[in-house]
């Protein structure tokens, strides 16, 4: 079951996603324990594997720390649905092979706690709680290619 955890806020930043006090490690499981801690201290206890984060504009703004993506992935979050993403966060996610959904429509329609079904290739979300069908623009081809290869390093390894 994929449940939506909605933060109807713009500019959720990397300091909130993973505070700098935890940057002395790059262990994903360790980082996951503090995921979103300064935004919602309950987050980690609420989420189940496969759940998604829903937020407003400019998600992931702030520092270049990839730890933000690792913390979210470590918390077994399937994807982040936002109106827009900060540039470095967006790039980091793709490079890590982590899907993102950029859709204002989805953010407007999805409510906290809704159950979702997401098809990344088709660009479709089914909100099973409300019955709404939402479409979104899938990631560009080169990004999908990197994600398919399992991230940027596997991708470049092919040409080394």
């Amino acid at each position: 079951m994929t449940k939506a955890h909605v933060y109807k806020r713009d500019h959720v930043n990397t300091d909130e996603i993973i505070p700098a006090r935890y940057l002395t490690t790059d262990d994903e499981a360790e980082l996951a324990k503090h995921c979103m801690e300064d935004l919602d201290a309950e987050f980690v206890s609420k989420v189940k594997p496969g759940d998604v984060i829903v937020a407003g504009e400019d998600f992931g703004c702030g520092s270049s720390r990839e730890h933000a993506v690792w913390a979210i992935r470590g918390a077994k979050i399937q994807t982040v649905i936002a109106k827009s993403f900060a540039r470095i966060f967006y790039r980091n996610a793709i490079n890590c092979g982590f899907y993102l959904v950029e859709s204002a429509d989805a953010v407007d329609k999805i409510r906290d706690g809704d159950e979702l079904e997401i098809d990344f290739r088709a660009g479709a979300i089914k909100d099973k709680t409300t019955g709404a069908d939402i479409t979104f623009g899938a990631l560009p081809d080169f990004a999908l290619e990197i994600i398919n290869d399992g991230g940027l390093l596997e991708h470049i390894k092919k040409s080394l």
């Binding site: 500019h11 720390r65 991230g151």
Partner: protein, 420 residues
């Protein structure tokens, strides 16, 4: 249609004549900046994939700075991993403790930055180097790993926003006030994915240090890069700092280059400004917020920890006492020595300030000035996000070194112009 300076540099780096915004390019990288937080992860990733190589041991610059000297066992481990890797690959420009400093102040000072280059770094404020008419942007650990191994990265050529800075800055007003005013107007995503190109008469009067304060904060408006064209000031700085005698390429924007937006600022009207928590766009003129009580003043970082910044702060603190905790962090060992030789440390010492070793330290809530619950800090850094300098309920107020120093004296937000 002409090209902007950003387009031209990326075209050059991809060996192409023409480049339009939105195009994807595989660009050759001239400099890769590595520090202690993001690089150890990049190295581990490479090792995991069996790619233990660097594309060019002379084009990678390494400086541990965030938790330097090691603040605890975990950060010491990061330094150890970084050290092992840098030595194994014989990284030529590896600044060990004693020579290490805050990356974005250190690289230009040590002559690693030149016009026309493509520079990447595992740090969001890598956009700082755009002050030297270079394309420079921050990346995460995976990108960093790829850049280290291959010397290439993919980029989407950004659209450009033109920021025209008219007029001259008034007394007590600095480039920090200008960039805070810019971000207050366009917002923290006002330049998302874009290049912020600064032009105008006010720039001509700014030193390279002052310009770097502005390009440093381009990321605070969401930009991919900040950039300032080449002029005599740039040339003079480079003459003093480049030591290897190698030449560089100067690009400039065509007169018919396309900009998605143009914002004009009359710098003579800009006042000292303080960005209130919790966004860098929360700028309030000092005349409207003076008197708000502070618990700490912090003068340092890649934004404002350079010698000029320390001089301004020392001038205000000299012969006075700081009435709140005041922490001074020269950004590099050279700046530290210069400040000492110029007698600035005497002024700080007499004013009861703490003088720290070069480090990022408390700028990111690391150590040496971390805030307790409910504390307020006026800081010359670049971010005032929730929990940035310590407890999630602490608050950071971004300001120029002059405003921070004046506020240190009075223990509350203070207009620096009364101390000029």
């Amino acid at each position: 249609m002409g090209m902007t300076i950003t387009q031209k540099i990326l075209a050059g780096a991809a060996n192409k004549e023409k480049m339009v915004p939105g195009e994807l390019v595989d660009a050759n990288i001239d400099v890769v900046m590595c520090h202690d937080v993001t690089t150890p992860s990049a190295v581990s990733m490479l090792l995991e994939k069996g790619i233990d190589r660097v594309f060019d041991a002379e084009k990678i610059v390494v400086t541990p700075d965030h938790f330097q000297p090691g603040k605890d066992v975990k950060s010491a481990e990061l330094h150890k991993r970084l050290d092992k890797w840098a030595k194994r690959h014989k990284i030529k420009h590896y600044y060990k403790i004693g020579k290490a400093g805050v990356c974005h102040a250190l690289l230009p000072e040590q002559g690693h930055i030149r016009p026309g280059q493509v520079i990447v770094g595992g740090d969001s404020h890598t956009c700082t180097y755009g002050a030297f008419a270079a394309f420079s942007t921050g990346i995460g650990s995976t990108d960093l790993a790829a850049a280290i191994a291959t010397g290439k990265l993919w980029f989407k050529v950004p659209e450009s926003i033109k920021l025209v800075l008219h007029g001259s800055l008034g007394p007590g007003v600095y480039s920090k006030d200008v960039i805070l005013a810019v971000i207050a107007r366009i917002g923290t995503d006002g330049a998302l994915y874009k290049a912020m190109e600064f032009v105008g008469s006010a720039l001509a009067e700014m030193s390279m240090e002052a310009r770097m304060t502005m390009t440093n904060m381009a990321i605070e408006a969401g930009a991919k890069n900040g950039i300032i064209g080449f002029d005599e000031t740039t040339e003079k700085y480079l003459d003093e700092h480049l030591t290897d005698g190698q030449d560089y390429t100067v690009y400039e924007s065509d007169s018919d280059a396309e900009y998605v937006a143009t914002e004009e600022f009359d710098c003579s009207k800009i006042e000292p400004i303080v960005a209130f928590p919790h966004l860098p766009s929360g700028g309030v003129p000092i005349t409207e917020c003076a008197g708000k009580e502070m618990d700490q003043a912090y003068i340092g970082s890649c934004t404002n920890g350079r010698i000029e910044d320390l001089r301004v702060a020392a001038r205000i603190l000299k012969g006075r006492k700081a009435s709140v905790r005041t922490i001074i962090v020269p950004a590099t060992p050279m700046i530290w020595k210069q400040a000492k030789d110029e007698g600035l440390f005497d002024a700080f010492y007499d004013a009861d300030c703490v003088i720290a070793a070069p480090t990022c330290g408390a700028c990111l809530g690391g150590f040496m000035g971390v805030l307790a619950e409910g504390e307020k800090c006026v800081s010359t850094t670049n971010r005032n996000f929730v929990g940035r300098m310590g407890h999630p309920k602490s608050e950071v107020y971004l300001a120029s070194p002059a405003t921070a120093a004046a506020s240190a004296v009075e223990g509350k937000l203070t207009d620096p112009r009364k101390y000029l």
